[in-house]
């Protein structure tokens, strides 16, 4: 049977090279995550940095967790915290994407067009979220992590994951309501200090 991530990490104390298997299992997923957040150019180096940090911190790995993926997502999320500007550029680039041709109107394309209509506001909403909410939200909606894995990744209690996602949901719901009805709500939340681009 294939060894679990926890077993490999355990073995890497005596044999550091064993950690290569962790890279092989998760590097592609982590790279795609980082590309989504900061774009391909910046993501490349960050994936290596994330694994170097993971290796150095392997003594802190909770070996009751067989899969290291949430832990690695958490490390990569921390690495992203120092690249908020790259992330802001990536979000700004999102709403400059070309629109699909109007003559290919199958369901998927209609959905895409709908998404692109909302896109500038979605991108702005993501950018305006406090970092803690943004990190939890994007792990959930883009990476399909469950609440439990998000809690493990970010090192926060389950209840905090729930409240962050609920707040983020509320902000997104306002997008669908007519302009003005939702109002230009200026959050006075203290976490806002870390906002992208501010």
């Amino acid at each position: 049977m294939e060894p679990t991530d926890a077993e490999i990490i355990g073995a890497s104390f005596d044999d550091p090279a064993a950690f290569a298997a962790i890279f092989d299992r998760h590097a592609a997923v982590l790279l795609r995550f980082l590309v989504r957040r900061v774009g391909p150019d910046a993501a490349e180096g960050l994936v290596g940095e994330s694994f170097r940090i993971a290796f150095e911190r392997r003594a802190g790995y909770d070996c009751t967790r067989p899969s290291a993926r949430p832990w690695l997502y958490g490390i990569a999320t921390n690495v992203l915290a120092r690249h908020r500007r790259a992330e802001a550029r990536r979000l700004a680039a999102l709403d400059r994407l070309p629109r699909p041709p109007a003559d290919a109107l199958d369901d998927q394309v209609v959905e895409q067009i709908d998404a692109r209509e909302l896109l500038p506001r979605v991108a702005a909403t993501i950018a305006a979220l406090p970092p803690g909410e943004r990190d939890a939200l994007l792990l959930y909606a883009w990476e399909d992590l469950g609440y439990d894995d998000i809690a493990a990744a970010l090192g926060i209690p389950l209840g905090t994951v729930r409240s962050r996602l609920n707040r983020a949901r509320r902000r997104l719901r306002e997008l669908r309501e007519p302009e003005g009805a939702a109002g230009e709500q200026r959050s006075t939340h203290s976490e806002d200090r870390g906002r992208i681009g501010s």
């Binding site: 989504r36 170097r52 979605v122 949901r169």
Partner: protein, 186 residues
């Protein structure tokens, strides 16, 4: 699954515009770099670090720049695996000989510790014994430390100099003269 998060799900960058497939060369290149960095650090003990009974925490406006400065200019070695980072700041531990200093961000929300750059005054000096104060002085001076007391032999038996770092913390670097003599005589 359909809910309030759908617009966000659909706005995932690679759903709007599929990315080029991952270039295998990118991953193999990163893998190679990663493995060679492991080779260098692999032998390092992973056991719990011994933290001295007393060690200062210094505050900086820009603790990330401070970390870079202290390792480059003064040659401190970071306990990389101890570093803690989040959106509101970074904490790092730096080792010098058998001593440790901790650095973090300056400000009321960070234990109310100030950087001299914020306080307009230096309120402590950190004394550090190094193995070779001549070489240490040469490196610090070359890397742009602000030397505020020259390298001198002192009556109490030390060779020492003093320098200010990037935000004005005052550092005193010394070596026992007996150690200097032993070093020079080989």
């Amino acid at each position: 699954m359909s809910d309030d998060l759908d617009p966000l799900r659909r706005a995932r960058p690679d759903r709007l515009q599929p990315d080029d497939p991952i270039d295998p060369a990118v991953l193999s290149d990163q893998r190679e770099r990663f493995m060679s960095s492991i080779d260098q650090t692999g032998a390092a003990p992973q056991t719990e670090r011994r933290t001295p009974s007393i060690y200062p925490r210094l505050a900086y406006r820009d603790e990330v720049a401070a970390l870079e400065y202290l390792t480059r200019v003064f040659g401190f070695r970071e306990w990389r695996e101890s570093r803690m980072e989040n959106a509101t700041g970074m904490l790092a531990w730096l080792e010098v000989g058998d001593g440790v200093v901790m650095i973090g961000r300056s400000g009321p929300e960070h234990h109310d510790i100030s950087s001299p750059a914020d306080a307009g005054a230096v309120t402590c000096m950190v004394n550090v014994y190094v193995d070779n104060v001549d070489a240490h002085y040469a490196r610090a001076a070359a890397e742009g430390a602000r030397i505020v007391m020259p390298l001198e032999d002192m009556f109490w038996g030390d060779r020492r100099y003093e320098a200010l770092d990037l935000e004005g913390h005052r550092w005193h670097f010394g070596e026992r003269l007996s150690h200097v003599r032993a070093r020079l005589e080989g």
